[in-house]
């Protein structure tokens, strides 16, 4: 509770807004994949470059592994998105989200000499939107204020009383 006093109302408000926005984005990504059973991460992983290219190859070489990865990804996104929007286990959700987005980044980092296999909607060098979103989730994870407008605050109150 002490840290809350160090933060202005605006900062507080925008942190919570950010949490809702990222939660919305990830939850919809998860729901979309769930509602489209024909969706597969194959296309994404198939073009992977840099350090995780070998991992991507391993995943795509077997439909069984690919299926597990697809399921984990879909349900991971749904769980993280729900956590962020509802403010439930917010810190865990934010950390998990940051890791997941970090992985997406590492499968396709916009580094010098790597050419994306699919056209992108912008131009990136080292930094891209996945990396920024991952960093924002890291910020949310370390900011107690971002957890306030959420179900976690009920548990916090119970413990202190």
């Amino acid at each position: 509770m002490n840290t809350q006093t160090n933060i202005s109302k605006w900062q507080y408000g925008w942190l919570v807004t950010l949490r809702f926005l990222i939660g919305w984005h990830l939850l919809y990504e998860g729901i979309f994949k769930f509602l489209k059973p024909e969706w597969s991460s194959y296309g994404f992983l198939d073009g992977s470059q840099w350090v995780l290219a070998g991992v991507a190859d391993w995943i795509t070489s077997s439909s069984a592994v690919l299926n597990v990865v697809d399921q984990l990804n879909t349900w991971g996104l749904i769980a993280i998105g729900l956590g962020l929007i509802l403010g439930l286990f917010t810190r865990a959700a934010a950390i998990a989200g940051a890791i997941l987005l970090g992985l997406y980044y590492l499968f396709y980092p916009p580094l010098v000499g790597l050419t994306p296999s699919a056209p992108m909607e912008g131009n990136y060098l080292i930094v891209n939107k996945n990396l920024i979103e991952a960093a924002m989730l890291a910020l949310i994870a370390v900011s107690p204020a971002a957890r306030m407008y959420g179900l976690d605050s009920l548990f916090a109150r119970k413990v202190t009383s």
Binding site: V16, F20, G23, W24, L27, Y28, I31, L35, E38, S40, Y42, G43, T60, S61, S62, S63, A64, V65, L66, N67, L82, I85, L86, G87, L88, M148, Y149, G150, L151, D152, S153, L154, R157
Partner: protein, 533 residues
């Protein structure tokens, strides 16, 4: 009073905290509502569904033949020829050398491929391989090992139905313990063995091509039709689900008047040009005059001294084969004939040459052939090249749309089509891309798992390897064998029956003569003869 005031205050705080804690709920509600709206909108405006509705193809999937589970009584098979194709056919029936099977099963388990497991579950057609015949001892022994191990019971079938080796196929045909034969020898034996089998009352599954030479066509047809045995030619494509849907689309006239059919072969590796007598290390493969009954292998072909090159790379010699025509165009013709019922062409012209693989043999490696169908008002072309792997799809050109059909199927509207003018104008369909696309598998990876060699890739791209029916992946060769077995047990005509084989035999002979004798050929229907023009 003070007590009451305090309570009000904390209650107010509690309510506010509670509201704050639930701030995510309206966000979640908004997301849920918008998602519902979006998926609803997309479903109503799904252009693929709209196109399918406009084309009247909502029931297209119903045109795929169901795979029925009709096992019936045991059928005892005799198999002639255990070179390359024999073991593949045995495998399609569930017979595999034990060690090779176990290794393959483990390999498939580690990379998530379910093909063998699926075959173990669905592919038992209740047959036993009780007869083995091959002129080469080593191949016959391999055949014995394969026939003794089935993937369903681990060898019980062979224990109950012992396997016997025959030195000569005539001995096998004379044995009442054989119900049906599978012929996978070089092409110059196909017709004679099929004729002898039919006369002996054995059902026949014979690899393509049905004949080698013109004079075998009528005797084969007469022998099979007079005997009443079930004859199936080794073309698996009619069993492909994608292909059955293609047939339905054509039947409904969605392509308009068909003016040209283009079939092709493109491959670029020595094995694909039938240079097969050397191992990967460049050494001659096993076999010599002692272990191979060379006289029986030659049969009616010209007498020449034993040659390991001829024994393994026989498809390069006109003495035993018709090269590209019998080996690969035969599949193309069957595909087209199953789709369009073209039958026998009015005229055939072939040209080409042996320009690259000139070391031995006499078959061409670049070949172009035009088959005119004057009555039908269309031309079938076959363009083959054994020195370039650039793929060209099998394409059917109609006035309203063109179709490519192989492993996948596409239908693309024609820019000038009258039939689709309305759809083109609305922008619902576009001549630069397919308006209909049917892919083989559920997920992309299922198709790529099985692809290993250049040869396998070639066959997969032509729709000759596997297919999905009711969610089960089937080897199309298994289904083709099953189609034959079902007809033996329950009657009916198999897909590549003797009438189809008769037409194909004439077409192949017309093309072969046109190339070798450098003339145009025509079919004299009255006298049932090929005419040189």
């Amino acid at each position: 009073m003070t007590q009451d005031k305090k309570t009000d205050h904390t209650e107010g705080l509690g309510r506010r905290s509670m509201l704050k804690a639930l701030a995510g709920i309206p966000v979640l509600g908004a997301l849920g509502f918008e998602t519902f709206r979006k998926f609803n909108y997309d479903a109503q405006n799904d252009s693929r569904k709209q196109i399918i509705r406009e084309l009247g193809l909502e029931d297209l999937a119903a045109s795929v033949r169901k795979v029925t589970n009709t096992q019936g009584d045991l059928i005892r098979l005799g198999m002639v020829g255990w070179g390359l194709r024999g073991p593949q056919l045995a495998q399609a029936l569930g017979f595999n050398e034990r060690a090779a099977f176990e290794q393959k099963l483990a390999q498939q388990a580690s990379n998530g491929n379910n093909a063998l497991k699926s075959q173990m579950e669905h592919g038992n057609f209740n047959v036993a391989i009780t007869g083995i015949c091959d002129v080469f001892d080593q191949h016959a022994e391999k055949g014995l090992a394969i026939a003794q191990h089935d993937i369903f019971t681990g060898g019980d079938i062979a224990r109950k139905n012992p396997v016997k080796r025959y030195r000569h196929y005539q001995d096998m045909l004379a044995d009442p313990a054989i119900d049906a034969v599978i012929i996978a020898t070089p092409d110059h034996h196909h017709a004679q063995m099929s004729i002898d089998a039919a006369k002996a009352g054995k059902h026949v599954y014979c690899e393509k091509a049905p004949i080698h030479r013109e004079d075998e066509i009528q005797p084969l047809y007469d022998a099979v039709t007079n005997s009443g045995v079930v004859y199936q030619m080794g073309h698996q494509i009619p069993q492909n689900a994608v292909f059955q849907q293609a047939r339905e689309i054509i039947k409904r006239g969605l392509l308009g008047k068909i003016s040209q059919i283009e079939t092709t072969t493109n491959r670029n590796f020595r094995h694909g040009a039938w240079i097969r007598h050397l191992t990967d290390d460049g050494l001659p493969k096993p076999g010599d005059a002692q272990s191979i009954d060379w006289g029986q292998w030659l049969g009616k072909a010209p007498k020449v001294p034993f040659s390991i090159r001829r024994f393994y790379s026989w498809a390069r010699y006109f003495d035993y084969d018709t090269g590209l025509f019998g080996q690969l165009f035969s599949h193309e013709f069957d595909a087209v004939n199953q789709l369009l019922k073209l039958g026998i062409p009015s005229q055939v012209t072939a040209s080409g040459g042996q320009y690259f693989y000139t070391e031995f043999g006499d078959i061409p490696d670049v070949l172009h052939t035009a088959f005119e169908y004057a009555d039908y008002g269309t031309t079938l072309t076959y363009s083959a090249n054994l020195t370039s792997a650039k793929r060209r799809p099998r394409t059917i050109y109609g006035r309203d749309a063109s179709m490519t059909v192989g492993e996948n199927l596409t239908v693309t509207p024609d820019r000038q089509s009258e039939r689709y003018a309305g759809l083109l104008e609305k922008g619902l369909v576009d001549p630069s891309r397919p308006m209909l696309q049917i892919s083989k598998g559920a997920k992309l990876t299922d198709a790529t798992d099985a692809v290993t060699s250049a040869s396998v890739q070639y066959y997969a791209s032509r729709g000759l390897t596997s297919t999905y029916i009711d969610g089960i992946e089937w080897n199309v060769v298994s289904l083709h064998l099953k189609n034959w077995l079902d007809c033996i047990r329950h009657g009916g005509k198999p897909s590549s029956n003797i009438d189809m084989a008769y037409q194909e035999a004439i077409v192949l002979a017309m093309a072969d003569i046109s190339y070798r004798e450098q003339c145009r050929t025509a079919w004299d229907a009255q006298n049932r003869k090929i005419v040189r023009l």
